[in-house]
Amino acid sequence: MEQTAAVERSDLIKTLQKEQETEGYISDEAIERIATEFDVPPVEVEGVVSFYTQFKRIPPGKYHIMVCDGTACHIIGAPLILTWLADALGIRDGETDENGLFSMESVACLGCCSLAPVISINGKVYGKLDRKKLLKTIREYKKAEDSNGRSNQTQSKSTAENTGAAE
C-alpha cells in the first residue's frame, strides 16, 4: 500500500496541471481539494504549486501572452517586446490588465530559436516579430474581441497546445 500511495503522489503535478489548464490558475480552494484527494498536507501542495512557474495563483487574462526570453530571442530583442507590449497593453511582466483581457509573462525558451523573437498567445506561436508585426497581431486580437466578443483566433484557455490550423 506504500507503493500505491507513492504512485498516486507522483500524479500530483499532473493533477495540478489539469487544474491549471481548465481554470487558468490554482485557487486556494483547489489546493485544499487536491490536498485532501492526495492525502497530502495543504501546505505541501501549496509549496509544490509555488515552486513551478507553470502554476499561477491569480487568474490570467482571456488572452495570455508568453514572451520568450530564451537566448536567441533575448539577443535579438525580447526585452524590447516586453516594452512594446507594456506600452500597447498597459501591463507589465506577470500582470493581467484591468479588463481581464490580456495578461503577459516572460518565459524561458519556447524552443523556436530560429524564429526569434517569439511570443505565444494562448498557445499560438508568432515568430520573427518586429514592432509593427507585434502591434498588428495585438490589434487583430483586440478587433476580434470587439466584434461580439467572439474571436477568430480564440483558442481554448488551454496552455501551449500548438494545434496549428490543421486541428
Binding site: Q54, I75, V107
Partner: protein, 579 residues
C-alpha cells in the same frame, strides 16, 4: 508523379506559419482533382529551421524541397504541379560537414507512423536486443563509448551497468527531456520528429538494465513533443513492443511544470515523485536510491536516440565516427548571428569554426565568440575556433559541451551583457535550497547589473571572479556549480570588455542601455518624421533631438529610418564607435 507531400510542422515550422500552409495546401490539392488523393502529411524538422515553412514533394523520380513557403494559392498550385522554381538545397558546406545519423529520418517520415518507422528499419535494433543477453547489450553500449548527451558526458554504458547490477523488480529508467537551456531545441526536435527512435532506445535500455518502468520527463513547454510521444507509446503498447522478457514495461510521459532545476537528476526524481523539485546531495546516486528509493538511471533524449544504431550496427561501427574519447555525433541547435540557424548533426571532432562558418554561414570576421552549453557553459572566443568539438577539448577551455545549444555571438554583442543574461536565468531558476547558489548567484547578478548599468568598479570585477569560484565549490547541485561559468569564461577571454565598462563607462558593443545614447545625425536626416511616429515613448522632439533620459533604447527609430541617420553612440560623446 507526386506520391506524397510533406509539410514540416514541428514547432519551428508552426511558428513560421506552416499551419496555414498545410491547411491551404490541402484545400488546393482537393480542388486540383488529380492530386486530391495524394497524401499530405505532417512531418518533423529536418534541421533547416531558417528555411521554414518547408514543403517536400515526393515523386517517383525524386524529392524536392521548397523553403519559406507562403500560404498563397498560386504558389502552392505551382508546387503541386512541380512548376515552382527555386527548390531548396542546403548549402554545400553544410551538406559536406553534416553527418545525419540519428536525424536521418527526421522530416522524412511521419513522426507517429509506426509503419513508416518500421519500413525504414525501426525496431530492428530492439528485435536484435531481445536476442542478446542483457550483459552483452550493456557491454555493446560500453564499447561504443557513448557519453551522455545531456551535458554531463558520463559514459552511458557504465551507468547502465550500475543499474543492471541491481537486484530489484522495481528498476526505473528515465528519459530526461526537460531541455531547459535557453537556445537548445535538440531534444524537442527529436521527440517531435522521431518519437519512436527515442522510445526504441529506451526499450532497449529496459532490456539491458532490467528496468520495468520507463518515464519520459518532458518540459510542459513542448506540447507537440508530448503529444507525439503519447501517440507513439499507444502504438507501442498496441503492438506489444513494450513486452520485454515477459513483462509489459510501463512507459509514461510526465510533464515538467516549469523548473529548469528539474533537469538535474535528483531534482527530476523529486518532481516525478510529485514534490518540489529541489535536488539533494549525492551520493547516494540514483542507481542506488532513486525514484521512490528504487534503483534508477536517467539518460538524455539524444543519448537514447543513439542506442538503436549502436545495437543495429555494432559498437565498433559507431566508434568510427567522432574522436577517441567522444564517439558518435552531436546535435547542435545553432542560433544567433548567423545565416543558417537550425538543428545540425555533426561528427564529434569537427571544429567550432567549421560549424559556425561552413555549416552556419556566419560571416567570417563578424563573429566574436560562441556560447556553448547554455547557462552552464562558457563563451569561446574566435581565436579558439579551431578547437575540435569534443567533451575534453571544450572543458580545457573552460566551457562544456552542454546539451547542444550553440549561440553565435556577433562582434556587435556585449559579452558582459551576455554573461549577465545567463546569470539572470540561473538566478531565477535556482531552487533556493543551498546558500552559495541561492544568495551567491543573486549577488553576482547584482554586481553584473551594476557593471552593465555603468556603476561598476574594479572591486566588482574582482568579486565576480572570487564569488564565482566559491559558488562553483560550495553549491549542492550542477545548477549552482555551473552557473558562474558564463561569467568566469567571459572574464577570462573578454576581460577588456569588463574593464571598459568599469573604467571608462563604455560598452564596446554599444549594447548596454545605461552606457548608450541614441543620436540622430542632422546631416543625414531628411526630416521625414518616421522616427517620431515610431517612438513608443515620444522622446524625439520636432527638431529631431532624442531625449535620452526618456528613451528606452528600443531601436524602433533606427529600424524605420531609411536614411541611416540614427545610431547608437557611447553615452556622453558621439565620436566613439563600436569596435
Amino acid at each position: 508523379m507526386v506520391t506524397r507531400i510533406k509539410v514540416g510542422t514541428a514547432s519551428c515550422g508552426i511558428a513560421a506559419g506552416a499551419g496555414e500552409v498545410l491547411q491551404l495546401l490541402r484545400k488546393t490539392a482537393e480542388q486540383h482533382g488529380t492530386l486530391s488523393d495524394v497524401p499530405i502529411v505532417e512531418v518533423g524538422c529536418i534541421g533547416h529551421c531558417y528555411a521554414e515553412p518547408l514543403v517536400e514533394v515526393e515523386t517517383d523520380s525524386g524529392r524536392y524541397f521548397y523553403e519559406k513557403v507562403e500560404p498563397k494559392q498560386d504558389q502552392l498550385r505551382r508546387i503541386l504541379n512541380l512548376e515552382e522554381q527555386g527548390r531548396f538545397r542546403p548549402n554545400e558546406a553544410r551538406a559536406q560537414k553534416e553527418r545525419t545519423s540519428i536525424m536521418a529520418l527526421a522530416g522524412r517520415i511521419e513522426p507517429t507512423s509506426l509503419e513508416e518507422y518500421r519500413g525504414h528499419g525501426g525496431y530492428e535494433a530492439l528485435a536484435a536486443a531481445h536476442e542478446m543477453a542483457p550483459e552483452k547489450l550493456v557491454e555493446e553500449v560500453k564499447e561504443s563509448r557513448l557519453r551522455g548527451r545531456g551535458g554531463g558526458g558520463f559514459p552511458t554504458g557504465l551507468k547502465w551497468r550500475f543499474l543492471a547490477g541491481k537486484e530489484s523488480d522495481n528498476k526505473v529508467l528515465i528519459c530526461n527531456a526537460d531541455e531547459g537551456d535557453p537556445g537548445a531545441f535538440m531534444d524537442r526536435t527529436l521527440m517531435e520528429s522521431l518519437p519512436h527512435l527515442v522510445l526504441e532506445g529506451m526499450l532497449i535500455g529496459a532490456k539491458a538494465t532490467g528496468a520495468r518502468r520507463l518515464f519520459i520527463y518532458c518540459r510542459a513547454e513542448y506540447p507537440r513533443a508530448v503529444k507525439n510521444l503519447n501517440t507513439a507509446i499507444e502504438q507501442i503498447r498496441a503492438a506489444e513492443l513494450n513486452v520485454i522478457d515477459g513483462h509489459a514495461v510501463d512507459i509514461r510521459v510526465k510533464e515538467g511544470a516549469g523548473a529548469f532545476v528539474c533537469g538535474e537528476e535528483t531534482g527530476l526524481i523529486h518532481s516525478l515523485e510529485g514534490r518540489r523539485g529541489t535536488p539533494r546531495y549525492r551520493p547516494p546516486y540514483p542507481t542506488d536510491y532513486g525514484f521512490h528509493g528504487a534503483p534508477t538511471a536517467i539518460n538524455n533524449v539524444e543519448t537514447f536516440a543513439n542506442i538503436p544504431q549502436i545495437v543495429r550496427y555494432g559498437a565498433s561501427a559507431f566508434t568510427k565516427t567522432g574522436t577517441e574519447n567522444s564517439t558518435g555525433t552531436k546535435l547542435f541547435a545553432l542560433a544567433g548571428d548567423l545565416q543558417y540557424s537550425g538543428l545540425v548533426e555533426v561528427p564529434m571532432g569537427l571544429s567550432i569554426g567549421e560549424v559556425v562558418f561552413d555549416i552556419g554561414g556566419a560571416e567570417r570576421g563578424g563573429v566574436k565568440a560562441v556560447q556553448i552549453g547554455g547557462p552552464s557553459g562558457g563563451c569561446i572566443p574566435a581565436e579558439h575556433f579551431d578547437t575540435p568539438i569534443d567533451y575534453d577539448s571544450l572543458s580545457s577551455l573552460g566551457a562544456i559541451m552542454g546539451s547542444g545549444g550553440l549561440i553565435v555571438i556577433g562582434t556587435n554583442r556585449c559579452m558582459v551583457e551576455t554573461a549577465r543574461y545567463f546569470l539572470e536565468f540561473t538566478t531565477r531558476e535556482s531552487c533556493g535550497k543551498c546558500t552559495f547558489c541561492r544568495v551567491g548567484t543573486k549577488r553576482m547578478l547584482e554586481t553584473l547589473e551594476r557593471i552593465t548599468g555603468g556603476e561598476g568598479s574594479a572591486a566588482d570585477i574582482e568579486r565576480l571572479g572570487d564569488l564565482g569560484t566559491k559558488i562553483k565549490q560550495g553549491s549542492l547541485c550542477g545548477l549552482g556549480q555551473t552557473a558562474p561559468n558564463p561569467v568566469l569564461s567571459t572574464l577570462r577571454y573578454f576581460n577588456d570588455e569588463y574593464q571598459s565598462h568599469v573604467e571608462e563607462g563604455f560598452c564596446p558593443a554599444l549594447e548596454c542601455k545605461a552606457l548608450v545614447d541614441i543620436f540622430i545625425d542632422p546631416d543625414q536626416c531628411n526630416g521625414c518624421k518616421l522616427c517620431i511616429k515610431a517612438c513608443p515613448v515620444n522622446c524625439i522632439s520636432e527638431d529631431f533631438v532624442v531625449d535620452n533620459a526618456v528613451c528606452t533604447r528600443c531601436n524602433s527609430c533606427i529600424e524605420v529610418c531609411r536614411q541611416n541617420a540614427i545610431s547608437r553612440v557611447a553615452k556622453g560623446g558621439a565620436v566613439r564607435v563600436a569596435s
